[in-house]
Amino acid sequence: MGIPISELPRHKTARIIELVGGHEFQRKLRNLGIREGKIVRILADQPFGGPVVIEVDGRATTIGRGMARGVLVEPVE
């Protein structure tokens, strides 16, 4: 069982295990390199329900909080 990436503490790294959402949603994220098996890290977390900035393969991507809730991860050491 994974946790949404939006709940991952900053600086913790994690592995993406599942993208929960519609077909379009999954495609959009995968096109940006955010997909199952990838190691991710939270770079920034905007307040008031704003977006989160995550890093995958050394590249930062901003995604809305709603989308971030659909990205399930498990923390790795």
Partner: protein, 571 residues
Amino acid sequence: MKKIVLMGNPNVGKSVVFSRLTGARVVSSNYPGTTVDYTHGRTCLGEEPYEIIDAPGTYSLAPTCKAEEVACDMFSEGDVVLNVIDATNLERNLLLTLELLETGKPLIIALNLWDEAKTTGISIDYHALSDLLGVPVIPTVALSGEGIKELVDNIGYARPGTRLDLTCDEEKWQKIGCIIKEVQKVRHRHPTPLDRLATASIRPVTGIPMAIGILLLLFWMVRFIGEGLITYIFNPLFDLYLPVITGFSDWLGPGILQELLIGRLFDGEIDFVQSLGLLTTGLYVPLAMVLPYIIAFYLMLALLEDSGYLPRLSTLSDTVFHRIGLHGYGIVPLFLGLGCNVPGVLATRNLETRKQRFIAATLVCISVPCMAQTAMIFGVLGPYGMGYIAIVFVTLLTVYLSTGLVLNRIMKGISPEICLEIPPYRIPEPGIIAKKTWMRIRAFLIEAIPYLFLGVLMVNVLYLVGFLDWIGALFAPVISGLLGLPPDAATALLAGFLRKDLAVGMLLPLGMTPQQLVIAITVLTIYFPCVATFAVLFRELGIRDLAKATAIMIGVSLLAGTLLKLILIGV
């Protein structure tokens, strides 16, 4: 003639490659979504002439916004595909490459940003990559031109490549994983202080103060450079011009030609701002009042664009834009619109839904004054102090936000969340900055001067035939009754269809109080876009949405103008 189309993910350097290949100038910037329309260019490869097409970036052949639709349309037009890929981001870029290979069109790959890949410790065996895909792969550094010659020499060898017969995305990603394992080595790199600064600029606690600082600095720089150019270059030039044109005016003597070319004389003297002649105001407004600020603004905009800061600003401001039915990318049409509304409206093509595009385009037209107009606002209101200028801009900001809030509520359709790639910071290349700034200044000169001449001419002719008095009388109930302005202000509003900078200048001879000027300028900004913007709005929105947008503009301008009058002048 064979057509070569440039395809690739956003922000991989397609436009720079295009400029290198054709010598044609197109805008390139360090954020995804710079190119929103196609550009044709020509080049000779060996003996054979080719047509080359620069297209917007896309992540796949299934478009998710209008800009990507354009890219996919262009793809189907091309005979040969030049796939530009980002060497620092190979894995993600290969998805589109596989999709392109599947179509069976002849393909050649430019492995661009090769310099950055090297410095970030990524090495790619491009020979192996070429063997695996069955198409030529040429490493390039578009910025310096490295590898472009090899690219040109190899275009003839573009070929359909290996058919991989992958049915679903899952299989494609697996295949890409295998390819990456075979051809790419990444040396682990510890974060540098620069990386830490980069991260700090996107975290709210550190990023928001930085953003405020940067925006204030930019604003200050625009004023500093603009005023400097006026004081030390353009005004002295017009001081030299004054005796010449005065002599010419005396030689002409009173008559219709003097009226048209020189305009009205004040105590027998020419007044460059108020005379309203073709050779006086028609030259002075665009060259000495507006151009200096255009130069200053576009220089700063180019620095902002090429550094890669805009996507960070998008991220930090996303929450605000989300409330008005947009997302953080809305900052791009806003900033481009501050230069000229036309590219501002065009940039809305990067937004995903019709609702978002409508809101973004309408808001740009309603409350984003272009630089030409802003320059005139400073010129006209400046002598009364910054306070009055601040009232205009605070009003416009309020209008922007409140109109957005309302539109977001009442419009059907959805507003997807932000999903934006953040490019690395790059040090702007002086040559590119200079070229880009010059391109935009040239576009201003080519478009502004004819329209301004037309505007000045129209005002003069309409004045002579008495049409303007008639218009003034017709709109007096609104202009004077509602807004508290002299009836003659209607003339300026009319001229605003052609050029808003001219219209702001025309308010000066009316002898208004600063409060009246504030109202007139605000209404002038909101009520209607200039013809150039109107035409683009028509193309982008279609006739029905254009009609809606226009109704909103007129309604909001009257509302804002009336409220301002009640606040500033009283009942």
